[in-house]
Structure formats: structure tokens, C-alpha cells
Symmetry: C2
Subunit: 592 residues, 2 copies
């Protein structure tokens, strides 16, 4: 019942007019000409609209099932996965030395938005694989890379990440899974892992599990955690798949959403594992995967908001209900379409201004990652590191809210599973939780990232905002609608950071009590910056006589909405932050 079309035009605008990627000095960007990126986006749109999106509801309805130790994916998933492989979509940003196409990360972001929007549960099978790929690529030996990466690049073998155990998720120091060293240098892994996305399934010849475990006799707590490669099937010397390893699926979890993805309880029973990276440095190796994954999860917030928005718009134009308060707009029909009503527009503008702002934010952030990876740009790396919890936490919180708003446009029909709007909400919900619940992101932001390297990354962010405002202060077209609100919001962010520095020294609870508010405050200023930049590009294009005036005028109008209606949230967040810890921490635990 639902529709999805890739937002190619908007992505192209961001890549080529906002970010001017071909003019960047980042290696590989010069090849990303508009025709080329456009063709990729068109093709990605095609397979997603025609093949993967129609399977979204199927996956939700059927879910995965475990029979005699075998996990079966929903009808059509296996064939579709083959089509994705054949289309060469799996190794887009992978290393050419190991089967990848070597494209910059930014193209991965642009394409993954589309896959995540069309069918999140399906896209996760490749997404997890690419996370595991990145981890082996960064920390594996040459032999490990040669053995696993080419097959993972094509998703002939898929990957997983195994962190969580029944009694611990965030606090991995409590982990119980054990690794016993063997004479041949391998380990026997024993323990239980839960919530393992894409944990097992019938779509690939092998599953390469990355498993955190403690080597017997190692240090206590988090310092004794190591990372292991544990294949489902042992891999023979010639690269072929051999005997079954000691890993099995205990059960498939019944979840609120993403039913098409097999979230498994994985049991390791003296499974053979191979150390990835150094002994007891498992967290470091896992973080490579996790930082990529957090950006990817932030992207899911955008993706689900986008597909929900597209459907809400269609419904609002189609459904006839009531009359415009200013007079009938469809006088020959029995009623006007929903879209004439101001509160419906408010909801749609909330969504539209979020998704376009978030898209710009994610693609810009991707240039930072590419600059860090390909140019060893330390400043870019530091800024992205600071913003990673914002990208993950803000975009998934807001993305979820937007799916709820889109569902609301449907009224009662939004609550009926047949219409598909409930699925967007239920699927989007997980993104606020996995890869570190959003409260943990806020803690990471305020407790760690903000003061990192003497606070220079947040200073760099403030400088970006300040410089943009200064460069454009003479531009009357931008001043009142964009520059002034951005300046005001940015001041709120600076005041909050200052409050944390002063009060956090005396009482860390004072800073942490405002951590979620700070994350949202940071997110709003980030999107405000994106909108101000996009407005600059749009107004310049119009001044230069661009022919597609409707596109640029719509961009400006949407930006004005964000600045006028969304950005004022910064004042509320600052007011909350500045009340500190007193009211938050007042009660004894038993008084709740």
C-alpha cells in the first residue's frame, strides 16, 4: 500500500550545489560528477522502489522463523538479496583491494539512505556486513582480510556484531562470554549473546560473527575484553566453506518492529574463534565498527522519516475531509483535501524541513569522514567524532517523532496495519535504542566528546557557524530569516556548553542532567546551520537567474519554516539545562 521514491533531486542538490563535492580535494571526489552520482542514485532508486519497498510490508507481516536450527527470511527476501548482490550494491564504499568499489563514504550515505527508507529490516543484512567489514579491514591481519573481506564485500558472506548479553548491554565490562586459548592460536568461545541483528538467515553461504569475549585469565572488566572472528561455517584453506562451527541460534526475538530482520539469541558452545586485533583491546576494535554504525543508525532516522513523509503527503493530497477555513479549495468535490488545513501543513512542514535538513547534515558529515579517512584530516575527524552522538541521537529521536506525525496525518487509518504507517513508526523506534541508546549518546557527547582535546572540536563547530554568519552578514535576503535565528540558537548552544564547563566541574551531575537537552540543542543548531547554507545556495541561484525557480523557492520556504518553527526549541533546552541537577537528582530511589 505504501510508496517510496528516492529523493534524487534533493540529494543531487546537496552533493553538487551545497557541498560542491567535485571541487573538493578529498581523493576520489573528483570522480563524483553529477551525471555519475545521478545515475547511481537513479539506479538505487529503481531497485528500491520496484523490488525492496514492496517487500517491506511482507517482511513486517511474515517476520523470520526458526525451524530445526535454520532461520528463514520472509518470502522474496532471498531473491531480492541476490538482485542486490548482482547489482553490485553491497561493496560500494569497500576497499578495491578486497572486492570493494572504492567509492567515498559519502556515496555510501547517499545510497544507504535509499535502502534504509525502502526497507530498513532488509537493508540491515548488508549494513551489518559492512560494519563487520570495516572492523576486519581496520584491525585484521592481511591473511584475515584476504580470507573474509572479498566474500563479505559481495555479501556472499554476511557479518554480525555480538556485544550484548542478557545482563549487559551498555556496560560491557560485565560480560561473561569466555575465550579459551588453544594451542594453534585460535580460541574456543563459549557464551550467549542476545539481540544479534541479522544473526543468522538463509540468504548467504556463511555468517561471519564478530564476538566480544573475555580471554580466560585476562584483566577484570572492560579491560579484559577482546574481539573475535567466529564464522558460522569454518573456512577452508582454499576459501571454500567447511564444517559447521559451534555457534547456533537459540531463538528469534519477537520485536516491536523490523520483523524482517532476524534478531537472534546466539549461543556459542566452544565455537572456534580468531582474535581480531590485539588481546584485551576488543573495545577499540569494536568501536571502529560502532562509530560507522552510529552514523548509519542516524541515517535510519532520516530514512524512516522520509518514507513516512512521502506517504503522508500523498494521503494529505488525496483524502478529502472538511473545508479550508478561508473558503473551499476544491469546490466541485465533496470536500477539500487534508493538505488545505493549517495543522496538517504544520505536520508536513515539520517533516519536510527535518528530512531535508537531516540529509544535508548527514552528507556534510560524510565529507568529514572522507576527509579524515582519505586526507588524514585530524580536524575533520575530531569534529565528526564530536557530532557522532548528535547524528545518532538527534536524528533518530526526531526521525521517530516525524514518523509518528506522518502516521497522525492518516487519522484512524494510520493505526491500521494494512496502511503501513504503523510499520514506519515501529521500525523507526529501534534506531533510538540500538548502537547505544540515545541517553548513552547524550552521555558520550557531554561526558566525553565536548571536552575532548581541550574542547577544540566544539570550538571548531562554533567557528563554522560564526564564520558563515560573518561571511554573509551583508546579505539582506538571509539576515532576518536565517542569520539572526542561527546566531541566536548558536548563542544558546554556547551558553549551554559554558554552563557545563562551569557547573560540571563542581558537580558532574549538573552537566549530565542536561545531556539529552544538550544533544537536541546541538542537533537543532546543526540543522539550522545546514538550512542557512542551503538558503544561501538557493537565493544565489535565484539571483543568478536559475530556471528551476520552484525548487529554489521551495527550498527557501522550507528553510524559513525550520528557522521560525523548529529552531526556537533551543531556548527551551537551554532553560532546562540551566536548572542543573537539583530537581533531577532530588529524590531518593525509593521515592519514585
Amino acid at each position: 500500500m505504501t510508496i517510496y521514491n528516492a529523493p534524487t533531486k534533493d540529494t543531487q542538490f546537496i552533493l553538487h550545489e551545497l557541498l560542491n563535492i567535485t571541487e573538493s580535494d578529498i581523493p576520489g571526489y573528483d570522480e563524483l560528477e553529477a551525471d555519475f552520482t545521478g545515475a547511481i542514485l537513479e539506479e538505487a532508486g529503481k531497485i528500491n522502489t520496484e523490488v525492496l519497498h514492496p517487500l517491506n510490508a511482507v517482511g513486517d507481516r511474515e517476520g523470520c522463523r526458526l525451524e530445526n536450527g535454520v532461520v528463514y527470511t520472509p518470502t522474496g527476501f532471498k531473491e531480492a538479496f541476490n538482485q542486490v548482490r548482482e547489482g553490485g550494491w553491497t561493496g560500494l564504499a569497500g576497499d578495491p583491494e578486497y572486492g570493494g568499489q572504492g567509492m567515498p563514504y559519502i556515496m555510501g550515505t547517499a545510497v544507504n539512505e535509499i535502502f534504509g527508507a525502502a526497507n530498513q529490516a532488509f537493508a540491515m543484512y548488508q549494513g551489518l556486513t559492512m560494519g563487520a567489514y570495516a572492523s576486519i579491514h581496520a584491525h585484521g591481519t592481511d591473511a584475515q582480510k584476504a580470507k573474509y573481506l572479498p566474500k563479505m564485500s559481495t555479501c556472499e558472506w554476511t557479518g554480525t556484531m555480538n556485544l550484548t548479553e542478557p545482563h549487559c548491554g551498555t556496560d560491557l565490562g560485565l560480560m561473561r562470554t569466555k575465550a579459551a586459548p588453544q594451542d594453534d592460536g585460535s580460541y574456543k568461545i563459549t557464551g550467549q549473546k542476545i539481540f544479534i541483528s541479522a544473526g543468522d538467515h538463509d540468504m548467504s553461504d556463511n555468517v561471519i560473527h564478530l564476538v566480544l569475549a573475555k580471554i580466560n585469565g585476562g584483566p577484570e572488566g572492560i579491560k579484559g575484553v577482546s574481539l573475535f572472528i567466529v564464522p558460522k561455517f569454518m573456512v577452508n584453506e582454499d576459501g571454500s566453506v567447511g564444517a559447521r562451527n559451534g555457534v547456533s541460534v537459540g531463538s528469534i526475538e519477537e520485536k516491536m518492529g523490523i520483523h524482517g530482520n532476524s534478531t537472534c539469541v546466539m549461543n556459542y558452545d566452544e565455537a572456534t574463534g580468531y582474535l581480531l586485533g590485539e588481546e584485551h583491546k576488543g573495545m577499540r576494535a569494536m568501536f571502529t565498527m560502532m562509530n560507522h554504525a552510529r552514523l548509519g543508525v542516524g541515517l535510519q532516522g532520516l530514512s524512516q522519516a522520509e518514507v513516512a513523509y512521502q506517504n503522508a503527503v500523498e494521503y494529505a493530497k488525496d483524502r478529502l475531509q472538511g473545508r479550508a477555513v478561508t473558503g473551499a479549495q476544491n469546490p466541485d468535490g465533496p470536500a477539500d483535501p487534508l493538505i488545505v488545513h493549517p495543522d496538517i501543513r504544520r505536520a508536513l512542514m515539520d517533516q519536510k524541513s527535518f528530512v531535508e535538513g537531516a540529509r544535508a547534515y548527514l552528507l556534510w558529515s560524510s565529507t568529514l569522514l572522507d576527509a579524515a579517512d582519505r586526507n588524514n584530516d585530524e580536524a575533520a575527524h575530531g569534529l565528526l567524532s564530536l557530532m557522532t552522538p548528535v547524528i545518532k541521537g538527534f536524528l533518530t529521536d526526531q526521525g521517530y517523532d516525524m514518523t509518528v506525525q506522518a502516521q497522525q496525518v492518516y487519522g484512524g487509518h494510520g493505526y491500521i496495519e494494512e496502511q503501513g504507517m504503523s510499520q514506519f513508526t515501529r521500525d523507526a523506534r529501534i534506531a533510538m535504542i540500538y548502537e547505544g541508546a540515545n541517553g548513552v549518546q547524550a552521555l558520550d557527547l557531554v561526558g566525553r566528546k565536548l571536552a575532548q582535546d581541550g574542547g577544540k572540536h566544539v570550538m571548531a563547530f562554533f567557528a563554522l557557524v560564526k564564520d558563515f554568519i560573518k561571511e554573509n552578514e551583508g546579505d539582506e535576503a538571509l539576515k532576518a530569516d536565517f542569520l539572526d535565528p542561527l546566531k541566536s540558537a548558536s548563542k544558546d548552544l554556547q551558553a549551554a556548553a559554558m554552563y557545563f564547563m562551569q557547573e560540571g566541574m563542581k558537580n558532574p551531575n549538573a552537566a549530565l542532567s542536561g545531556s539529552t537537552d544538550f544533544l537536541h540543542l546541538f542537533g537543532h543548531v546543526s540543522l539550522g546551520l545546514m538550512w542557512a547554507r542551503m538558503a544561501k545556495v538557493a537565493s544565489t541561484a535565484l539571483a543568478n537567474g536559475a530556471t528551476d525557480t520552484e525548487f529554489y523557492e521551495t527550498k527557501l520556504a522550507t528553510g524559513r519554516y525550520y528557522m521560525a518553527r523548529r529552531l526556537p526549541a533551543t531556548k527551551m533546552h537551554l532553560a532546562r539545562i540551566e536548572t542543573g541537577a537539583d530537581t533531577v537528582m532530588a529524590l531518593a530511589a525509593d521515592s519514585f
Copy 2:
């Protein structure tokens, strides 16, 4: 897996210390002594904790099923419904002349919160019946009342309300269901209704449908709509159940939540119906039901937030993860409980300050309803009429957000159906939609209620706030923490109302673009007023040497949290409102 306990102590505090109900001049209130209300709440808590809450997950898992035209409710529902009937819970606030116990509405509110929290889907079977009861009671002939009400009072017969059709929900003027007048004064009803909660089931001997339809030849649109009583089984002269009427269940909807309630497509095929109230005045008759129902739905927002909160607190105390930033608080354990972390506390305080404030707001509003019904108090009726959309819209929007926050406390475990937190979220979601989607509530508030009777009801609300502040201006214990924030928030509300009056005259879109923000602004000020009043009671009790200091100090601390952390939202809403319609209405429909 989940728990639920009735919040008897808090309800008693509100009834007897905040509202002092036994001192009220509302007929019947003098009988509501603390011992009596306490006993009722205890008993309601017992059946809900022991019988109905354990069926909540069962209902969610099994749902209802339609076999050969018969609707089967989930395992255990039928037996539990008998227990509820036997306990005398169904006719609590009904008219003693027609089988009711004649208690004031406020006791219905206090008790229904408990039923709605323990098992929303189950409670709806009685809830809909009481709505239909109220409508027949207000508009029926003596014969109709005598025929239907006693059996509905005991829920031997249950009731439904049939408004929505596939192509119309909010805009009922588009309705197609027809009523053909018969020689005997009855009508033949033909048409299809959808989303009919408790539409049919196996727990009662008859179902009394209230159905909106258009009498052939009547006026066009909403002015031609009449309300009919359409029993599932014809009722014989002696009151016994006779032949099957021409009404059948087309299907049961698959929904996001409230699976335990049978949401039906109802087909009327020349079903015999009896006019309820006057010809073509169906909307008036239906509104009696709807206004009660809207208060009841607002109550569901509280109920789901309360049960979700109770579980989140338990989990936060129980789950060990990480260490307090200020030093280990459970040094002998492997980690500290979640509740030591500031961001977890923030989430719990958001929930706690919402549910206690909302409870006070609903019980206070119930005194207005009782004053209107039992004392013909026009001012009380007007104020409640103004606040009905706020109660429905604000409490369900916020209640939903609180269930999402409670779920978030569980991390990954919150996403797994086995834990039960997902159900609270999925069940709470419907309350934002049914009985008028919250956008429609906002439209009702700003477009109709605000200016009603020359705006005197909103002026009465402002006067309440002002008088409270004035009466207590010398109270230093309240000033900074309660009175000042309330004054500031109330000013924001007044400024918004003023903006609507000035700008709404020129352009109605300017007011309606801010309608949802205004609804939330109004809701926050209302809860702020409740918290200030509760703080007054608590600080007075402490000053007077009350022994239960922990209760009153917790009340004050929770109130301080609301005023400091939640109330600043009013500034954001006002800022949004004052940007008017320009950015909201800027785009052409095709530019979305």
C-alpha cells in the same frame, strides 16, 4: 512480565487534600469520605492487579478473532468480564433509576484510571458501553431508557458508537449510511461503519449500537445526520433478547495495538434502528457521548503513562549497568542500578511529574463536570468545555511520549515484545487518534472554544491562575519555585490568546497554524497550576507538622521538577505561534 499497582495514596491525596471533595457543595460529594473512596480504590486496585493486568499481555498476543460471524475475545477475557460485572464496577457513575450506583463522575475518573492502566483494551468494552449509556440517558425516551439502560449499566449488554465510514471520519457530513423510515416508526439502516471499538464480541448477551445515518430525503451534509439505536439482537417486549438484527461484522481490523479490543468493520443491511433524540440532530446527541469519551481518552493518556512509568521505575532500580559519575553507589555489586544515572532520572522525573500532574488535572476537571451536571453550574460547564480538547489532546500526546520514554529506560529489552513495554507504547498511540485526532482537538480549541461566549471561559481560566498567585504571593516557600514560573507560563498563554484574537481576525490561518502549539501551551499551564496547588497543600501540611514528611517532600520535589524542566516549553510554543501562518502555508500543495 509487567506490573501494575493502583496509585491509591496519590489519588486520595488529590481527592481529599487538594480538592477537599467532602467539603464541596456538589450533591453526592459529602458521601465521598476518605475511608469510602479509599476502600473503592483499594478494591479496584485488587481486581486490576490480580485479574485484569495479567490479561493485558494475553490480549495483546492473542487479539480477537472472527469465526463464522462470531467474534471471540482473548483467553480469560470472558471470565474476567464476569468478575468485573459481579464486582459492580460497571455502573458506578450511572443513574440509580436505571441500574447505576449514582456516584459522582469524579469517582468514575478515579476508578477508570485504574482499569485503563491495567488493561486498556479490556476497559474499552465497559468504557464504550458507558458512553452509549450516557447518550441514551440524555436523549432517549423514557421507554428507550427503561429498555436499554439497566442492562447496559451491568454490561449484560454492551454499547458501541458508529461514526466513521471508510471515506469519512472527521468530516461526517460525507456520510453515506442511510436510514429508511418504516410505517411502525422504526428505520431500516443500511451502510458500512469502520473502526468500531468493541464492535462485537462474546462477552455480553447483546450489543447496543448507536449509529449515525442519514434519513432518506433529509438535508444535505452534517445537518441531515441522525442517531439511531440498533441492537444486535432485537429486544422483546419483556426485555428478553429476540431475533438477530441485520447487523454483522465484516472483519476485525489488524491494528498497531489494543489487540484485545475487537475493532470491527460493521455492516448494516436493512437493520432495524430506532431514532435516538430528534431527526437530523444526530450530531448533538452524539456529542454527549463524545465529550464524555474525550475526557475518557485523555484519561487513557494518563493511564498508559502511569503503568509504563511503574515498570520503568522497577527496571531502573533493578538493572545494574555502569557506575554513578559521582562514585559507586552499590560498591558491593558488579555495577550500580540504572537509577543512579542523571539521564535516567530525567526520564523518570518527566514521567512522574506528568502522571501526578495529569491525575490532579483530570480529577479537578471531573469536579467541573459534576458541578455542571449536579449543580447546573454554567461556569463550570463552560470551563470544562474549553478544556476538553486540552485534556484529550495534551494528555494523550504527552502520555504517549511518556510511554516512549519508559520503554527507552529498558534499552534493547524495551523493544522486545516479551517485556511488555512496547505494548504500552502501541496501545497509547491510539488515544492520540480516536475520538477526534489531536489536530482536530487543537482546531476545536482554537477555532471554536477559545472565543466561545465572548471568550469568558478562557478569561475564567486566567482568573483562576491569577487569583491563586495573588492569594499566595506572600508565601516565600512557593514564590521562586512555583509562583514565578506559573506566572511566566500563564503570560505566554495570554500572549498567545491575544495573538490569535488580533491576527486570527485578519487571517484565520494565522491562528490555526499555531493550534497544536496552543493546545500544548494550555496543557502545560494547566499542569503548572495543578503543581502549584499541590505544592501549596504539601508545604502547608509540612508546616503543620504532618508526619508523612517523605510523601509531601517528594510531592514538592516532583512539582519543582515540573516547573523547572517541563514548563519552559511554553516559551517555545509561544515563539512558534507568533510566527503565524506565513511559513506554514507558504508552499503550493505540489511543492511538498
